[in-house]
Amino acid sequence: MLVSSWVIAFFSLCIFSFLYKNNPFYKFAIHVILGLMVGYMFVQQVVIGLSTSFFSPILLELGESSPDWWNLVIQRIIPFVIASLIFTLLIPGRQWMKNIPLGLVLGYGMGLMMVTSLESNVFVQLRKTLQPATSVFASGSFFRDRWPQWAQFVPMLSLSVVVALTLLYQFRMRLPQIKTVIYAALLIFIISLTDSLVILIGVMTVLSYFFFSFERDGLVEEVSRVGLTFMMVYFGAVFGSTLMTRMQIFIGQVDFLTAKWIMGTIRAFGGT
């Protein structure tokens, strides 16, 4: 127990010392874990992987009274030969052969991902976005409830501001300030809508941010700018909400170092 706590403390301090600058202790710790994990990979993936999916099935098959040779060749030998083509990367002039197993693996991944992401990331997400929005349109409660008394007029006001200033901008004066005001009023109006509508607008504008084949000007620019704003809100929120978690990990480390390591050592040597 004490030994392991000392080992843990030593390696933790080695890693933390990198915050000051790169140093021999850090390099030592890193190369220790590098070697360990390469060894782990070796046992976990190569030794056990080979034995479970190649050697032991073959041995079992041969152990049978009448081994099914055809099955053996199709299921074990040919895949093994094809897999070992990876090592042709070392043979000058034969390097293209490694693409055969690679092609199989990549085809597998791509085929799997194409359908699953179409289902779970396009169909499901679109439905999740559309279902509440449609119910809102059906019921007709467009603005968020519990809107405070003195702010009842905000949605309508912002909308009318948007309309009026847009007309003004179009026909009279093309000032950047007016554009900014329009933009702010538009955001206020969007926020004042019901949550599911905000989500719908957010999804559509964010999607429109990713249009590749249109020049970014006019309507597309405005819409994609709203989408960019939504994304920035998301990124800021994620960043801020992560701070506490990460900080807690560090607090846990410090707690270990103080409580378990130092105090544990003191206690072990008869201190109180």
Binding site: H31, M37, M110, V115, N121, V122, L228, M247
Partner: protein, 330 residues
């Protein structure tokens, strides 16, 4: 040839996967199992083998070149041996099982017994142990059962090696009446059944190394993020333009609300008030604002990015499937 063969193979595999996804028939299950369990797995294994080969080669070269930091290559190469050693040690020490062997009389019809059958053996004082038939030799009329007891259970089970009389049951029907059976405590590793390297409670020395060095390093690396997140916020949370301003504002609001004291103070000042005019300042208003920011605009943006990413991914997959996208050919 050099290009066409891999590309066509890739497209065909891709197509196969797509098609089988729409076929619930058992045939597609068979095909998938074939592809996944044999081809995919073995190619992954080969990839790992090549990777380990190349990393070892890199470090040995550094060692030969005696350039800067060659000492650390020595460290790495030495530590490379640790887990294989612990794996061997654990297997030899703990990966044991009890085998019960007996010969049966010719009167027994072996039709009802077959290899890999789940059976039970029951000793004289009625204690039963479940096991599995591993060998069924009809010539020598010999049957041997492997009991499903792991290393620590063997001691607790109280079975000793040697000959004692058992009866053999298959789904609670007595197959062999009380017969003297030979109990042997064999090492599975040398029987060709190596246990997977385990961080799951058994495998003591492996577990010790893993829990003492690997997991704490994982935690420490994770803890480094705490520092980096602060310096990143300091460096790049600046109001350069409107978008950066939004980023800064949201980040600040969330950080402020996440600080536990804030909410305490807030609720100290604004205790729950029912009048509509003060509904902005009810209890937990800040928390609600944070949750709203995270869930509604944030959630929608995340969903939009997800959908767009999926569309891009599908188009890219089609590119690969049609054989246009060839970066992976090298």
């Amino acid at each position: 040839m050099q290009v066409a063969l891999p590309v066509i193979l890739c497209s065909l595999t891709c197509l196969l996967l797509v098609v089988t996804h729409f076929i619930p028939h058992e045939f597609s299950k068979v095909v998938l199992a074939e592809v996944k369990d044999n081809w995919y797995k073995l190619i992954k294994v080969a990839g790992f083998g090549f990777a380990i080969f190349s990393v070892l080669r890199t470090h040995i070269r550094r060692l030969q070149a005696q350039g800067t930091d060659w000492q650390y290559s020595v460290v790495a190469l030495v530590c490379f041996l640790v887990f294989p050693m612990t794996y061997l040690i654990d297997n030899i020490l703990e990966n044991r099982a009890l085998f019960v062997t007996t010969t049966y009389s010719s009167s027994l019809d072996t039709g009802m017994l077959s290899n890999k059958d789940k059976v039970k053996i029951e000793n004289t004082d009625g204690k039963t142990y479940s096991g599995q038939i591993v060998k069924l030799d009809s010539k020598k009329r010999q049957i041997s059962v492997k009991l499903s007891l792991t290393g620590s259970q063997i001691k607790s089970s109280g079975l000793k090696s040697g000959t004692q009389s058992f009866r053999l049951l298959k789904n609670d029907v007595v197959v062999l009446e009380k017969e003297p059976m030979k109990v042997e405590n064999k090492n599975l590793f040398f029987q060709g059944a190596g246990r997977s390297i385990s961080i799951k409670g058994d495998g003591k020395s492996t577990e010790w190394v893993y829990n003492t060095i690997v997991s704490p390093l994982d935690t420490t690396m994770f803890a480094l993020v705490a520092f980096y997140i602060c310096s990143a916020a300091y460096r790049s949370f600046r109001v350069r333009n409107f978008e950066a301003g939004v980023l800064l504002f949201t980040g600040l609001v969330v950080i402020l609300v996440n600080a536990p004291l804030t909410n305490l103070v807030w609720n100290g000042i604004f205790t729950a008030k029912k009048t509509a005019s003060q509904q902005f300042f009810v209890q937990d208003a800040l928390i609600n604002l944070k949750d709203w920011l995270l869930a509604v605009p944030g959630g929608s943006a995340g969903r939009g990015i997800l959908i767009g990413g999926a569309l891009g991914l599908i188009t890219q997959s089609l590119r690969v499937m049609f054989g246009i996208e060839r970066s992976w050919l090298g």
